[in-house]
Each structure stands twice: as structure tokens, then as C-alpha cells.
Symmetry: C2
Subunit: 390 residues, 2 copies
């Protein structure tokens, strides 16, 4: 067993994205104790940073000590008790996962199923909510499996109209498109660090409304998940009342998240959102210049996760293998019904730069040519560059 | 919000311990994708490294993507279903936590309570198992809250005699005293990274016997915890049958664990155990030379976690504040019934060196003197040095 030295990679899949040297450097700062007064200061700084990031000044915001999936599980497990009714919009892999978890929480689960590649339909969701008293409406803001954006503001409003709490999956949206928790009046929002925040995977920032906190306090049964029990978690992260030992925080990972927040705030959240949008347009122009087509309708596209249809006769996996072998470039494969039918190209955080777009177009055209598909790299780059210059 | 620069600290509390520069450097290597073929090689390397570390060649060994508490929760949630009987030995804070989790799993929980500071009594545990058919016996090998070692071999044998599966908490023992999963014939063993492995907190290595795997396969209900559902986790970490996407592994944290394993195997596991034992003897000699007394009887002491009684008239917290302020030295406080009555001094992994012992004795004597307790630092160091030289 010898020390591991990772190869150079350019990360343009569905996450993780490229992690900036500043965040990598933060990870390797000396570990201090999780009960150290200085570390408590860091925790407070992260809490207020997350409130700013989510635009959730009145929500309780903390990072869970596990990947984004833990945020999903914590949301479901804390807000649902056996017998509660949950309406879950499913328009990709992650909505389906929420439904599985809600079932494990003992809830009565009603899914509103959509074709993959389409956004959640607020009218159909509202119809499901109107059928019976419902505790929770859960949906995915930015479906990583399809590259589709749903209208979180409308869906949260639907939940409010029917007295349901809203759970919003913002794993892929946060930092790449607007996440406006206060504006949406959302109840429980969670995310991950390895998408548009460009920190390594392993933490799940969450925001919890006062309504959600009251609902958790009013539970009749204990939360089934001890590690993600918000009553315990919030005591550990709590400010005024001191801190109660719960778990041992992943200290160095939190250094990384903190630095990622500093980097993002230096750029400006709005500037980062504009950057994602511009590079998305440049990428799409280039892909279309190369003769490729997108899965998702223009109005529903996520800038940070681009699903590109695999042309007839092209071996999807061979293309990814080619770009990895020849360009150290990681692209994502399709999941579920989209397996073999799309590539997923991420433009997330530090991976959303003109350099990444040009490299990706160059590598992809080369790989397609090797498969006999005529993709004109000059036309692709010209179209992309023109869009960026506009 | 500005970049965070941690202060220098010497970590001699109950964990985290000092992280070696090699492990810190590994954390900051560039992030690669969790589905990258090279990363899959790293995962295989970690799996076989953990089998070696646990001495569990026939167990399935993986690191969970969350702190040691996740290992505890995964163990309880995967092996227990509603209505199952669980016997849980409680001789400190972590046995009590297991009982809470087993209750959340819907199990019928029988605790066998012990005075804090004493080891688990195998005869009393056996009596509880004899009362009714029992699915699980759970206990803590090395109680971090008290510094007590229990006899894991005997307790696992008791479980086997009564047809129960054994869950063994080795969070603090692994790497510091012998953990012999095959020799014990234990079923589900979990640990953490921030104790004697001297990696940052955030991962929980576990080992799962074939019996435990069969019991999980035979469950009538789904595991309540999705993230820690071993059926899903093992598919993600699985070798031959390929990998099924589950969560996104905490890549950089796994770089750190891998390097910590390399460091430990370079030293040799037996050599590391001997080192912990020798430095423990040197520390105890020094503490006794300074006029202090230990909580735990000599035969039950953990070398890596030393509980020292606070002398009458000494302000426990003031001493910790003094050594932190003047020596950047972190010592641990007591928990639960031991709060205010003991200090917990860790000698874990990279924090188990003669330098740490001498610094600790020096700082502690100074702080005690400031409280009016006459602690002779020269006598303490002489006693400690003599023990090390012996």
C-alpha cells in the first residue's frame, strides 16, 4: 500500500466539480479540536455565511457532516412521521430517491411522476395536495439527472396554500442559479458542497424555517435518524445556549466549505450566477455548432448541468472513455431511462470558465470524429467564442 | 468573511488527535470524480487496508461517509428491526447513545448498566441474553467517556453462545490497542478516523461479518436510514459486480484515510500498539509523580485515553483554559457524571509521542500550581522519563 497520487483531471461531470487551489489549501490546514473556542467561531461564521448563501436570514442554517444525500434524508426524516402524507414530485433520479426515503420514514407517499427531462408541473402537484391533508411537499429544484430547472417559487407557494411544508433539493442549484429561500418562503432546503460551491463532496448545507423547526418540536415520535436529528444537531451548532456534544464535526472539510464561501462572496453571488449563465450559452452554442442537440427545452435548462443527446450510431461510453484518456476530461453519463442516451456536462463553480468550455468542445469533437460523427471543432469553437464575446 | 487560519494546537483530548503533515498533505490533493476508474482503485485499496487494520479478512470493510457516530447508527439500524430484542451494555456515554438509537430503530432495548469507569461485566450481560431470544448484543470496546477497556473477545463469545449478533464500538480502540475482529468472531465493528488513526474526523470505517450480511439480507423491513443502508452502500463500494451510484463519496477525506493507513502500516500495527502502551505508562508515571490519581483501575485502562481525577479544590475548567492559553494544548473535560471530576488526556496516534507526554506534564503542573495545587514538574518528568527509559 503506497501513498495515492491522483491523476490530473478536469471535472465537467455532474459533480464533483474542479476544486480551486484555495479550497484545497484550506483542507490541509492543521486540524484543531471541534470544541475549541476558535473552532466555534468558525462554526458561527459558516452559519451566517450559509444564511447569506441561501438568502435565508431567518432560517437556521448548518452544514450536515455527510454528503448531500444526508441533507435529503435529514429533511425527510425530521419532517415526516409514520402516517403523515407526503406528496413528492418525481421528474428524475432524485425525486425518486426522496420517495424511497419518505417510505422508510413511515409516511404515506404520493408521487407525482413526470417524464424525465421536463420540469415539475405545479398544477398537477396542486391537484395532489388538494386530495387530502398533506404534511410535506418535496421536489427537486435542479434535477442533476436531467439538467432541468423547476419553478421553486411557484411550488413553495402551492405548498403554503395547502398548509404543507416544502422540502426543496438545491444540491445542484446552489451557487449556480438563484436560490432564494426567503423569497420562496421555503421550509427545508438542502444542498451539497461538490457542485457549484466547488468544495469536495462530504457536507450538506441545510436551511430550516421557523415553521419547520416548530413542526419538528411538535413531533410525537423520535426522529428515526439520530445523526441527522435536527433537535440534536441544532444543539451542537447552537449559539447562545452553548453547545451540546453530538458528533465530532468534520473539521478539515469545514475549513474547505468556509473557504469556498469566502471565494464565492469575493466574486459575488450574482456575478457567479451570471457567469454560469454566460458559459452555458457559450457551451450550448458550441455544441449546436458541432451538430449536437440538447435534451431539455431552452426555458427549462440548468446552466450548470447540460444534458446532450447522443447522436445515433455513436457509442456513448466510448466518447467518455476517449475524452478521459486523451484529455483527462470527465463528463457524466445518463442515469435511469437516460442511460446511454445523453451525456451530462457540468459547468459548476470553478469548472464554469471559458477554458473549460473550449477544452470540452475540443475534446468532444475529437471523440465524436473517432466514432465517425462529423463534428466541426472550428465551427463549434467559433460559435461558442462568438456567444461569449456578444 | 475572511479565510480561516487555525491557531497552532496540540491535541491531547478525546479526539481529534494531531493529524500528521503527510495526512494533511493528502487531503489537499486535487479532487477527482468518484466514478473515475482511478478512484475505484483507491476504494479497493482502502477496503483491503481496512480488512488488514481490523484483522477481518472475511468481513466486508468500507468507510462510511460520515463521522464515527454514523458507524454506530448504521450498525444499529441495519441489524435491528421493530420488535427485535437488543441487549446493550452501558458503561459510559456511548453505550447510552447506542440504546437511544436502538429505540429509534423500533427495537426492544434492554440495557445492562454499569458504573462509569468500570468495564462491561460479561456475566451480567450473559444473564440478560439468557432471559429471552436476542438479536443483537452491543457494547463499547474502548469507552472514550471513561477511558475503560472492556473484554471484547469474551463479550463476542457470549453473544455467539446465545445466538446474538455482536456490535462492537471500536471508535477509540482501533490503532491504539489490539482490535482482532476475526479472533473475536465479531459481527459488526465500527470506528472513526480522528482517534488513533490520526486523520481528521468525518469517516467511519466498519467491518461486517457474513452472518451480519445474511441477517441484513433477511430483513422483513427496509433499513430506516437510507444513507447507511448497507445493501445500498455495499453496491456502491462493491468490487466484482460493478458499482451502483448511491451517494458521492467524500473524495478528499478518503485521500486522508488512505494516507493514514499507509503511515500506520509503515510503522506496523503491533509497533503502534506498543508505542501507545509505553507512552501511556510514561504519562501515568508522570501524573502520579505530580501527585495526581487515575480514575480507572490499572488493568482496565486504555493507553490512548487517560482519565485523571481532578484534585479537591482545583477548578477543572480553569486548568484546561490555562493549558490552552499558555501551551496551545487541548485536554478533554469529563462527560455526564464525570463532568468536572476528571480530565481526559488522549495519547492517540500522532499525539502519542514522548514530546506530547513531556509537554502535557509540564503544562499541567504549571496550571495546577496556578490553582494552588503543588505539582512538582521535575518529579513528574523524571518519573515519566525513567519509565520510558526502562
Amino acid at each position: 500500500m503506497q501513498s495515492f497520487q491522483p491523476p490530473r483531471r478536469v471535472l465537467m461531470g455532474p459533480g464533483p466539480s474542479d476544486v480551486s487551489p484555495r479550497v484545497l489549501a484550506a483542507l490541509s490546514r492543521p486540524t484543531i479540536g471541534h470544541l475549541d473556542p476558535v473552532f466555534q467561531g468558525l462554526m458561527e461564521d459558516i452559519k451566517s455565511g450559509l444564511q447569506r448563501l441561501f438568502n435565508a436570514p431567518d432560517h437556521a442554517c448548518v452544514p450536515l457532516p455527510a454528503p448531500g444525500t444526508a441533507g435529503m434524508e435529514a429533511a425527510i426524516m425530521n419532517l415526516l412521521e409514520p402516517g403523515d402524507r407526503a406528496v413528492i414530485a418525481v421528474n428524475g433520479a432524485f425525486g425518486g430517491r426522496m420517495a424511497d426515503m419518505a417510505d422508510r420514514a413511515g409516511a404515506t407517499v404520493v408521487t407525482v411522476d413526470h417524464e424525465w427531462g421536463t420540469p415539475v408541473d405545479a398544477a398537477r402537484v396542486e391537484a395532489a395536495l388538494a386530495e387530502a391533508p398533506t404534511k410535506v411537499l418535496a421536489f427537486v429544484h435542479a434535477e442533476t439527472s436531467t439538467g432541468v430547472r423547476s419553478d421553486a417559487a411557484s411550488l413553495c407557494a402551492v405548498a403554503r396554500r395547502h398548509g404543507a411544508l416544502s422540502i426543496v433539493d438545491c444540491v445542484t442549484s446552489l451557487g449556480g442559479i438563484a436560490v432564494d429561500v426567503a423569497g420562496w418562503d421555503a421550509d427545508l432546503v438542502y444542498s451539497g458542497t461538490q457542485k457549484c460551491l466547488s468544495a469536495p463532496p462530504g457536507l450538506s448545507p441545510i436551511a430550516l424555517s421557523k415553521r419547520a423547526q416548530a413542526a419538528i418540536s411538535a413531533r410525537k415520535t423520535k426522529v428515526r435518524n439520530w445523526l441527522c436529528d435536527f433537535n440534536l444537531l441544532m444543539s451542537y451548532w447552537g449559539g447562545d445556549g452553548g453547545r451540546t456534544y453530538h458528533h465530532t464535526a468534520p473539521i478539515n472539510a469545514l475549513y474547505g466549505l468556509h473557504e469556498a464561501l469566502v471565494v464565492l462572496f469575493e466574486e459575488g453571488q450574482q456575478a457567479a450566477i451570471v457567469r454560469h449563465a454566460r458559459l452555458h450559452e457559450a457551451l450550448v452554442a458550441g455544441l449546436e455548432g458541432a451538430g449536437l442537440k440538447m435534451l431539455v427545452a431552452p426555458k427549462d435548462r440548468l446552466p450548470q448541468l447540460n444534458t446532450v443527446l447522443v447522436p445515433d450510431g455513436v457509442d456513448e461510453a466510448a466518447v467518455r472513455t476517449h475524452v478521459l484518456a486523451n484529455w483527462d476530461l470527465e463528463l457524466g453519463a445518463g442515469l435511469g431511462p437516460l442511460k446511454g442516451k445523453v451525456w451530462r456536462i457540468g459547468l459548476m463553480g470553478a469548472s464554469a470558465t471559458p477554458w473549460h468550455v473550449r477544452l470540452c468542445l475540443t475534446a468532444l469533437c475529437e471523440a465524436l470524429a473517432a466514432q465517425g460523427f462529423k463534428a466541426d471543432v472550428k465551427a463549434a469553437l467559433a460559435a461558442s467564442d462568438a456567444k461569449l464575446a456578444a
